[in-house]
Structures are given as C-alpha cells and as structure tokens.
Amino acid sequence: MRTLTKITRRGVFALTAAVAGIALTAPAKAEVSFAGQTVEWIIPFSTGGGSDTWARFNAPFLQKHLPGNPDVVVVNEPGGGSTRGTNLFTQRAQPDGLTILGTSGSTQFPYLLGDPRVRYEYQDWEVVMVAPTGGVVYTTPATGVDSIDDIAELQGQRLVYASQGATSLDLVPMLAFDLLGLDVQYVFGFRGRGDGRLTFERGETNIDYQTSSAYLRNVTPLVEAGDAVPLFTWGILDEDGNPARDPTFPDLPIMEEVYEMMHGEPPSGPDYEAYQAFNTAGFAAQKMVFLPEGTSPEIVEAWRQAFRDIFEDPEYQASVEDVLGAYGQVTDGPAEALFRRGTQISSEVRDRVVNMLETEYNVRLGE
C-alpha cells in the first residue's frame, strides 16, 4: 500500500501543473494522517458529567489509534441544554476530521421535539460511533409490589416520580407510564437522576429509574436490603432493530413485555411509536460521535478504523466496563442503524408528543 502511494506521488511530480492540482489529492486520500495536529472533541456538557466522562475515557484511546497519533482534547461547551455547543459545532467545525462532536440523549430530544434553539441537523453529519446504555425502572415494596408479576397492583395507586423536566430523558419514563396506564404524579426540578434516587430513598417518591451503571451501583444494595423492587428495563434493539431484553438484566422484562402482560397484546399505535422513538434516542443511541457535514469518506473511514482498533485494544477491553457500564460501543453498520432510529421521527409522532407536553405539562417549546 505504502509503495503504491509513493509511486503515485512520484508520478504526480512528473505531470504538468494543471494535472498535478487534481492528482495531488489522490495520495492524500489514500493516507489520512493527523500527525502533529490536535483533534478537538466538542462535548456540549460541563466537565464531570456523564458525557464528559465518556469522552475523557475514549480520548486517550483515540490518541493511540488515530493515524498519526494526534493530540485529542475534550472541549466542554455547555449551555442551553446542550444545544449551544452543538450549534457551535454546526457553525464552526471544518470537515477536516479535526473536530468531532459527542452528543447525548439531551441533544437528540430538543432536535426531535423541534426546540427553537436547535440550529443543527443530525442528517448532515457522519456518525462514527454510538455508545448505547440502558435503564431499569423500580418501585418500593410499600406499594404492595414484590415483583413485576404484581404490576397490576400499581394501577390505580398514586405514584410519584422525581423528574428532571418533561423534555429531558425523563420523557421516556413518562411515555412508558402513560402506555402502561399508570397514574403517576411528576414532580419536576431535580438536577439529575442521582437527585431523584435520593428522593426515592427518603420515601418522597415511590417509582424511579436509573441508568444501568447507576442502578447496579446504588439500587442493587437497596434491592438486596428489601427497600426497592425492580420492575422492567428499557430493553435494547437487537440486530434486526427489534426490542429485546437487556443483556445486563436478562431476568427483567422489557416495557413491551409488561404491556403484553397487562393488555394481552403487544403495544402498537402512535403512542407506542412515540415511546420507541424517544427510547432509542435516549438509551440505545444515547451517546454518538459525529464528523461535520462534508467530511470526505476517507476521513470518515479513518475514524471508524480507529474505533475498530480501539474495540480490539486489550487495555480498552479491560477498563471499558468499569467506566461505561456493560454496553459495548459500536461503529459502522450497527452505529448507522442506531443513528437512524435515534434521530428520525415522523411529524405526526412529534406533533403528538409536543401537544401532550403542552396540554398536560404546560411546556411551550416555541418561546
């Protein structure tokens, strides 16, 4: 490969200047290298949060596996519920492979809902990696529920849920509880799921969910002590894009199974479509890495290759689960599939959700 390029390059110099102008791009295409340069990884969230930790975990591996071993620095651009940093990326990033964006569910949701602050378009970008996650819904034994088989007990009870806001990731449990016909009172203004879990532990709320790693760390001890009862998970998407049980919690049913237990048939219809769209954007395709619009296929390929190499790196394999939880990160085809499922929504489903937010929760997106 290398000798071939050299020959081409030598040949190029022999040609006339006019031809050289076109042909010079050929060797550059074959050999993408970021040697001596700095890659900026824009994270539209503040330092210390989940997305920041995720990026900072991956950054040194990228440095090791990207061609030319460039410096990879994480640049935090928080604000506007992650819309500010993402807008900035759209506005300023050059398609040279030296600026990438890391998004999260909170970046996808305003886009899907048509928030006026969104000035970015997912479909313009090239997805290079997706990091899925999952989550578990649990309740307290005080509700009279000992396992998911007693789910019917929850119907008709007044359940209380501590929410970060109707347009945050907590939209997914709202849509799920609605589908299941649970009567849940949402109390807003919590700063994170950790905050919500503390409220659950105090007994102020009686239903809650945590992402998988936080669940394993902080709720499993509660379950063992008999203070919490796991109900169901958000599930994952299998290779065909169908909902399947979460491999981290194979014993727990997914929302769809619970629905079937209660109603005798699998969920369908626009409300379920809405749940599916936001569930994918919020969990299965939670964190994604993008290159800006107009990036050449060679550069995209170089980035994907870097991630393929990272996934093979024993050092990565040894530490990924501790830091990011049990879900592997994916690139190529699976990443593309998750990206499409997590960033596309029919306008009917969007209108339905926006309308529900407006009438039931007083959320006005267009200010």
Binding site: G48, V160, G194
Partner: protein
C-alpha cells in the same frame, strides 16, 4: 474499626502518596490563585496527569487539587477584592478593606491559618460523622431543604447594611435576577427576552465578579494610588496567627458549621461562607468593624469554606451526588478511575473513604503552609500603583467571567451586572444581600414547589422544618441587633442629625441619582411582574410573589428618599462623602467603567486575544502614561501569561466579528 483506621493511616503516610498529594496541591494552588477559576479548570489541568496512574496516586492528586482551591483563592479575594471562587465571596467584605489599609499580609495569614484549621476540624468531624451520615442526609427532604434556604435568606437581615429596607430591596433584585431562565416546576422560560444566553440563567461567577470585582476596580481606577493606601504591608504573618488565636473558638464553630452544611446536598457550597460570616457578625459583641476590615470577617468564612469541602465529600461518596462544584469534578475523576461511589463507601470500602478524608486534611496542611510562605511576597502586589495593575486585573476578570459559558455574552453580562454593582456601591445598597437573593432564588423556589407536591402545605409542621425555623428566628433576632455595613472604609456622613427634612422637590433635585437607581430597581420588579403574568400558575407564583413584595420595599425606598432628612440611613451617595470631596484628582465614576467597556467592545470586534493586546496598547500610554518600551514589555508579558494559561487549560477565547469573517489560527480565533 481500628484496623480500617490503621490501614487508611498507613496508606496516606507513604512517600508516594504524599508526593502525589503535593503535586495536586501545587496544581490547585496555581488554579486557585487565579480568580474565577475553580475545580473545573483544575480538572482540565489534571487530566493529562491522571492517565496511567494507579488509583491511590490519582486519588491523591485529585484530593490535593480539590482541597487547596478554597485556601489559595483567598489571594484574589483579599488582595484585589475579586472573589477567588464562589467559596470566598464573603472573605472579600473584610479581607479587601484590610488590604487597602495596608494589612494584606495579616489578613492572608489569618485566612490561611483558618483554612488550615477548618480543613483539619472538618476531617475530624467527618471521621465520626461518616458512620451516621447516611441516615442524616436522608433526613433532609425537600421540606427541610426549603427551610434551610430560608435560613440562608435570613442572613440578609445581618448583611443589609445601614438601611434594612434597601437590603430587602437588594435581596429582591437578587431573587428576581436569580429566577431568570427555566422555571423549576414547569421548565417554561422566564424573563429571557428571546436572548439565548438568558435561557440558562445568569451564571453565579458573573454575578459575583460583577458585584464585587468590577465596582472595586472602577473605584480604584478613579484614584491615582495603590490598593494599599498607606504603602505598608503590616506586621506580617505572626499578626495573623495571633488574630486567629484570639478567635480560635469562632474558627472552630465556623468549621463545624461548614462541615455540616457542606454535607447536605442540594444547598450548595455557595452559601456556607455567608452563613459563617453572618454567624461571626451575630456572635461578636466587642467592637465590631465588619465591612471595614474586621479580621473576624476573614477568619469565619475561611474556616468554613475549607471544612465545607470535607463535608461535601459525604454525599459525593455515599450517593454519587456532588455537594459542590469542586466535588462534581472529584466525582468525575473517581468514575474515570473506576471507583464507584455508593453505599459500599461506608461498608466494604470504608478504608478508601478514610484515606480520602484524611488526605484532605493533610492536603489542607500542605496547602496552607505553601500559601503562608507565599503570603508576604505576593501581598506586595498591593503596593504597585493601581493604574499599572488595572489592565491586568481587567483582563483577568474578563477571562474568568468568560469561563462561565465561553461566549461573548458572558462579558456583556459582566458589564451589566458590574454597572448595577457600581451604583449599589455608590448609593450604599448592600451587595451581599443581592448575592444571597440570587443564590437562594432557584433553591427556595424548587424546594418549596417540591415540598408542596410531596407533602402538601402540611410540610411546614414537619419536626425538621420547625427546628430550622426556630434557628432562623433566633438568628434573625440576633441579627437585627448587629447589622453589617458594607460601604467599606467610608467615613460616616458629616450631616447635621437635627437638620429638618428638605421639601420633596428640593430632595428630588439633590438626590435624583439615588432616586433614579431606586426607580431602576422598581422597573426591574415591574418587568418581573409583567413577565410572570404571562406564565402558567406554577411558573409565575414565585417571581410574582417576590417581585410584588420587593416592589413594596422599592416604593418605600422611593418615598423615604423624597421625605427623609439628610441624616436618615436610607439617604446615601458616596459621591458626596467627605473622603471623595477631600481627595484630589478623582476622576468620574464613568472613567473606570469606560475601560472595562472598551475591552468588551474590542472583544466583540476582533476577539479576545487581539482585543486584549489593543487594550493594553491604548490603556498604558493614555491612562498610566507609560513610555513606549514599558508599554511593550508589559503588553508582551500579559500576552505571554494569558497564552500560557489558555494553553495549559485548553481554552478558546471569545470570538469577535473578525473571527466570523476570516478563519484565524489559535490564539487569534
């Protein structure tokens, strides 16, 4: 139990652990000295070192960094009147007047010694507290947290200055500004006027710098003298240690207060220093000079803010909920290291918890020792003529303000809040009261709403709520008897106390600037009320209530300004103070503000770095009258400093119009 203690003790006393701790302390010192930069900048600086380290060494680095920031941020608070970080805001009130009186070294060493003691006492309290912390933290539900935020607000009574009604009005301004942005209950956006920047609310850093740093810089810029007016440094650090010794019990009490309040997640570390300061004021009987350079006003917040970091560790370790900004960073670092916070930290991993707590104490000792050694040389800064220091300070506060959200709007917001601060200072409106209102507004609103949702209005009869209510009432009662005056260093007005009140027309003619500022506050309340009218019930109830109450106080101020005698506490204009009349060559209030505005305007045009160069090249010859060589040397020095800092922290500077047109290489972009 004993073996857990011993293994933790053995861990921290190893040479390796100590040396990593020391490196962390040094890094934290560098970050903390720079005003406005806190834990977040620290972590960015630390990241390159963190990789490839084993867990204990990396932890030592992190702890060293986190522990020393509330110690070293005192430099900026005392020497420049700029809050070094949100934990040192109260230190400015008395620390800076002390520096102006030429006692910078004394104030610094008392502060560092208090920090040292605070850190150690915090660790001692935590050693026992760790075992009962979980049930205790769980006992603080939303109702109790709401009552605690009311307790925080009650400190306004102490900090209101000469005129209580102005204090309440200032607090109202703070509450209104603090409720800009998304409503906690519904997420609807209040008072944003379609400006993207306001959707998230105005950052605390901006409000702190705008209220305290900008007015002081502007005031100093009007005069031609150094910060320390009488050109002496005071009797060095022994004096400060003696001061601490005379007030050791105050320091111990504030440390305890800091550790406990820091341990309660949700209240945030931002009020700890104010509560400690308020406590010092309330409990001081003999000869208080608070606001004008009382060393107790330095000892109290500095003892509390170091103890607070220890307290903040508890919810971080046990629930994964950071108790303060620095702890958020610590949490991020822990997760990267693969240490999972959770109940196991008081179970199987108790030894790690103790290693962390005691490392914190040790880092406090190291940090305080280094700072004390540096106190006297660094305090010489106050002897430099201020015209030379000013461009550096203006650059520094702009750079610090820009760390808030990293857009130009940060600087514009700084300028606007700065103007409010300048006029509050001039007309004797207490700035701490505004800050407390600002900090407590979102807390009070969120917790009130949540408490009502969870318990109904019956939440008010919960035992925890009643206990905190009783403490608040006692504190208010004591506070009313000992109020602080924040118009630092200004002699009392030389007016005839028996002079009759002027006619309203004459009063208006003479006092129109004060009248105009009070009218501005009224305008703000009216805006808040009209904006609230357009929101849903849950979104409007809080701003509507507070703005209406504040408007009553505002109207009272206006009426009093019309009808009061000259000697009334509500009537105050620094421009008429004897100090100003006596000093020669004092420039207009606007001259100082002009220079800051110039830098902001230039930044909007050509981006921060080029603007800074131009600013130095204009300012130095015009205002400081330096020769061409000195001008170039100082400009180059400042540029090198800013570049080195930006490079280490991987900062991008604010963009200007120029950067929108052409693509420039770093640092010009």
């Amino acid at each position: 139990m004993v073996d857990v203690f011993l293994s933790a003790l053995a861990e921290i006393t190893t040479l390796k652990h100590m040396s990593f701790l020391l490196v962390g302390v040094m890094l934290g010192l560098m970050v903390g000295v720079f005003p406005g930069l806190g834990g977040i900048a620290g972590l960015s600086l630390l990241m390159p070192f963190l990789y490839g380290l084993d867990t204990t060494s990396a932890l030592a680095l992190l702890i060293g960094l986190v522990a020393v920031i509330p110690t070293s941020d005192t430099f900026a608070s005392v020497l420049m009147g700029i809050p070094g970080s949100s934990a040192s805001q109260a230190t400015v009130l008395d620390g800076f007047p002390l520096a102006k009186q030429g006692e910078a070294a004394r104030a610094l060493s008392a502060a560092f010694f208090s920090s040292l003691v605070g850190g150690i006492i915090g660790a001692i309290i935590l050693t026992g507290f760790v075992l009962i912390a979980r049930p205790l933290i769980l006992a603080f539900g939303s109702a109790e947290l709401f009552m605690l935020s009311i307790f925080g607000l009650s400190m306004v009574g102490v900090l209101a200055g000469r005129s209580l009604v102005k204090g309440l009005c200032a607090c109202g301004i703070g509450l209104v500004i603090g409720s800009i942005g998304g409503a906690p209950a519904t997420g609807e956006f209040r008072m944003v006027m379609g400006i993207d920047y306001l959707y998230d609310g105005i950052p605390l850093v901006i409000v702190g710098l705008g209220l305290f740093a900008v007015p002081e810089i502007v005031d100093l810029l009007r005069r031609n003298r150094p910060i320390a007016a009488d050109m002496r440094l005071g009797s060095g650090w022994f004096a400060g240690v003696r001061d601490w010794w005379r007030n050791w019990f105050l320091s111990v009490r504030c440390s305890g207060l800091g550790a406990v309040i820091g341990a309660i997640p949700g209240l945030g570390g931002t009020v700890v220093d104010w509560i400690a300061y308020g406590h010092a004021v309330q409990s001081t009987k003999d000869n208080p000079r608070f606001g004008q350079g009382d060393i107790r006003g330095v000892i109290a917040p500095e003892s509390a803010n170091n103890a607070k970091e220890g307290g903040g560790l508890l919810p971080t370790l046990m629930f994964g909920i950071p108790g303060s900004g620095a702890m958020a960073i610590f949490l991020g670092g822990m997760v990267l290291l693969g240490i999972q916070p959770g109940p196991s930290m008081v179970g199987a991993n108790l030894d790690i918890t103790y290693t962390i707590i005691w490392s914190l104490a040790l880092a406090n000792v190291l940090g305080a020792a280094l700072c004390i050694a540096l106190a006297i040389p660094i305090s010489r800064l106050t002897l430099i003529p201020f015209q030379l220091l000013a461009p550096f300070m203006i650059t520094v506060i702009c750079l610090a303000a820009f760390q808030a959200t990293r857009i130009l709007d940060d600087l514009v917001a700084l300028l606007v809040i700065g103007l409010i601060g300048i006029y509050m200072r001039r007309f004797g409106w207490p700035r701490p009261a505004l800050l407390i209102g600002f900090v407590m507004a979102p807390q009070a609103e969120t917790y009130l709403y949540q408490a009502v949702q969870f318990y109904g209005w019956g939440f008010a009869t919960r035992p925890g709520v009643l206990i905190i209510l009783a403490i608040t009432l006692i504190s208010l009662w004591i506070g009313m008897k000992a109020r602080v005056d924040d118009s630092a260093g200004v002699a009392m007005k030389q007016t005839d106390p028996d002079a009759p009140a002027p006619s309203p027309v004459a009063a208006l003619r003479r006092r129109w600037p004060q009248f105009a500022f009070a009218a501005f506050a009224m305008g703000l309340f009216a805006f808040a009320i009209s904006d609230a009218m357009r929101q849903s019930f849950l979104g409007q109830v809080f701003p509507l209530t507070i703005a209406s109450i504040a408007a009553v106080f505002g109207a009272t101020v206006l009426v009093m300004l019309l009808f009061s005698r000259d000697a009334a506490p509500v009537v105050y204009d620094q421009e008429e103070a004897p100090e100003n009349a006596a000093e020669k060559g004092v420039r207009s209030l606007w001259s100082g503000a002009f220079w800051i505005a110039l830098l902001v305007a230039l930044t909007a045009l050509v981006g921060f770095f080029l603007a800074m160069l131009a600013f130095f090249l204009i300012y130095l010859p015009v205002r400081a009258r330096t020769g061409p060589v000195k001008t170039l040397v100082l400009t180059a020095g400042a540029a090198a400093f800013v570049l080195a800092l930006a490079n280490a922290l991987n900062l991008n500077f604010p963009y200007g119009q120029l950067q929108d047109i052409v693509r420039l290489p770093w640092p010009l972009r």
